[in-house]
């Protein structure tokens, strides 16, 4: 029987089969609460994973397409060398645009370290030239050689040195998010298995009566499986909604913001958490089914 037919059969249910198992028991509350808690945590893990992915993409893309040329020269040569660098860049294939940072922009970059009102003109600050590449990029080694010839004080920094660890860190953060989701799913499966085993043990007499009147294992198992699947899905739905609300009231994600302010979902990513109740239901379906059949096989 296909998975789709099983799930469909499960959702349609069997009113009488459902009724053979008493609804009382702590396993009801346990399953609902744990599923809700796990889904709540899963929403955050998912948000972290997606935010880390966005961050990695942004850093990777932004840093990969930009580079900096630092010109260190005596004050008298600074202006000519800057013009020489810009001229070289203008003639370099793969360079989309290039511009020298203004004094105000350089001051802004140094402000976090030196505070406001920095007398830039009194300090031997190198001039920075921002280079934006085309999608094809430029030949870094060729550019370095030409810069050495035309402007000896110019040093090309293509950001490779510090881009790679940043992107790696963001990628690992994204992977940690997915691992967290897998662990949450495994914990949910373990919890549902324990709750199902507890319910099966508590209802051993019911199972015995059912077997003696000719109920097949699949009929008995279905009553437990459906109940735990729906409980897990309902609990997860509640947890997901709460998690999404919690994420929504966090400070808004901004492209240029720091990581923490970017934790959340953007656009269609808000649809991702909606699969959590479905995943919780599927996890509970398999966990209960395995537990039920194992238990029934052990019984005479």
């Amino acid at each position: 029987m296909s998975l789709a037919r099983r799930v469909l059969g499960l959702l349609q249910g069997d009113a009488q089969a459902d009724r053979v198992v008493p609804k009382r028991g702590h396993s009801v509350r346990l399953t609902l609460f744990t599923s809700a808690a796990m889904a709540f945590l899963a929403v955050f893990a998912l948000a972290m994973s997606l935010a880390a992915g966005r961050l990695a993409d942004r850093w990777s893309e932004a840093l990969a397409r930009s580079s900096t040329i630092r010109i260190s020269a005596p004050a008298a040569e600074m202006e000519p060398q800057t013009w020489a660098v810009l001229e070289v860049l203008q003639q370099t294939p793969g360079v989309e645009s290039a511009r020298a940072l203004t004094d105000e922009e350089q001051q802004g970059l140094l402000e976090p370290w030196f505070g406001p009102g920095l007398p830039l003109e009194d300090l031997p600050i190198p001039r920075l030239v921002e280079v934006i590449e085309t999608a094809e990029g430029y030949d870094g080694e060729g550019l370095r050689q030409r810069l050495a010839a035309e402007a000896p004080g110019a040093v090309l920094d293509d950001h490779t040195r510090w881009r790679r660890p940043l992107v790696q860190a963001a990628g690992r953060l994204r992977m940690l998010g997915w691992i967290s989701l897998a662990l949450i799913a495994a914990s949910t499966a373990a919890m549902v298995t324990l709750a199902a085993q507890s319910a099966l043990a508590a209802n051993e007499r019911v199972i015995r009566v059912m077997r003696l009147i000719g109920a097949r294992d699949v009929y008995i198992a279905r009553a437990f499986v459906r109940r735990f699947t729906l409980r897990a899905a309902y609990g997860a739905a509640a947890g997901t909604v709460l998690g999404m609300i919690a994420i929504a009231i966090l400070p808004r994600a901004q492209t240029e913001g720091a990581f923490l302010t970017g934790l959340g979902f953007a656009g269609a990513e808000w649809l991702w958490p909606l699969i959590l109740p479905l995943l919780a239901g599927l996890t509970a379906f398999w966990a209960t089914r395995v537990a039920a059949f194992k238990r029934l096989r052990r019984m005479q």
């Binding site: 015995r208 009566v209 059912m210 077997r211 003696l212 009147i213 294992d217």
Partner: protein
């Protein structure tokens, strides 16, 4: 003399040298029994002789420790769990302790075998009401099993055993907790079912019930003594 000598044709349930023991001891040994379609058997013997154990072997609630039990021509030890479930759907069993699902009203408990075998239909509600009426439980149909007396539980168990129109009915002390009048009514139902071709095996220590039955139907009476099955004598 064993019952094997009396069996003719294909058996619905057959015990071939079946024995059962536990804890190193032997309760039943070399049981040979053929329940042919339409036969009526009583099983008697003193308390603790093994009547209930023999019935449990007949519906495969227990597995023989020696010999073989066949249900509908299939050795029970070779049956899959689904085969066993299907075989039990063809049997109506009245257990001595009359176990029910305590959280369901008696009407749902009685109808449970129909649900399990997916044989419920549009006319089943009327049949169910008739059956409950016949066993005297029409006014108690919404009662929960713990609210019923011992006799009421036994009548409900019989109703549950026959509701699917099974091929064979196995009853373990079905009149143990009911008065003589109700015992005769239950006996009458069993006799009628037997006349309709059902195979009946009743374990009882109530000899007067057996005498009443023998006046109406050709029933064979077996006795368990010292772990073996014997044909009861004319003392009945």
């Amino acid at each position: 003399m064993t019952e094997a000598a009396f069996g003719r044709g294909r058996a619905v349930i057959e015990l071939k040298d079946a024995g059962y023991g536990y804890g190193g001891g032997t309760l039943l040994e070399e049981m040979n029994l053929r329940l042919t379609p339409g036969s009526f058997h009583f099983l008697t013997g003193p308390s603790g002789a093994g009547k209930t154990t023999l019935l449990k072997l007949c519906y495969a609630d227990l597995t023989p420790t020696s010999g073989e039990v066949t249900l509908f021509d299939q050795p029970s030890h070779q049956m899959s769990r689904d085969d066993l479930a299907h075989a039990r759907q063809r049997m109506g069993v009245v257990h001595q302790n009359c176990e029910f699902l305590d959280h369901l009203p008696i009407t749902e408990n009685v109808a449970l075998p129909l649900t399990v075998s997916r044989r419920g239909g549009p006319g089943e509600d009327a049949n169910l009401a008739d059956l409950l009426g016949w066993v005297g439980l029409a006014g108690r149909k919404n009662a929960l099993p713990p609210e019923l007396s011992g006799g009421e539980r036994q009548r409900a168990a019989l109703a549950r055993a026959v509701i699917t129109d099974p091929d064979v009915i196995l009853a373990d002390e079905p009149t143990g907790n009911i008065d003589w009048e109700m015992s005769l009514r239950l006996l009458q139902l069993l006799v009628e079912l037997n006349r309709m071709g059902k195979t009946i095996l009743v374990a009882t220590h109530d000899l007067s019930l057996i005498r009443a039955a023998k006046a109406q139907v050709s029933a064979r009476v077996l006795r368990i003594a010292k772990g073996r099955l014997q044909l009861a004598g004319a003392d009945l």
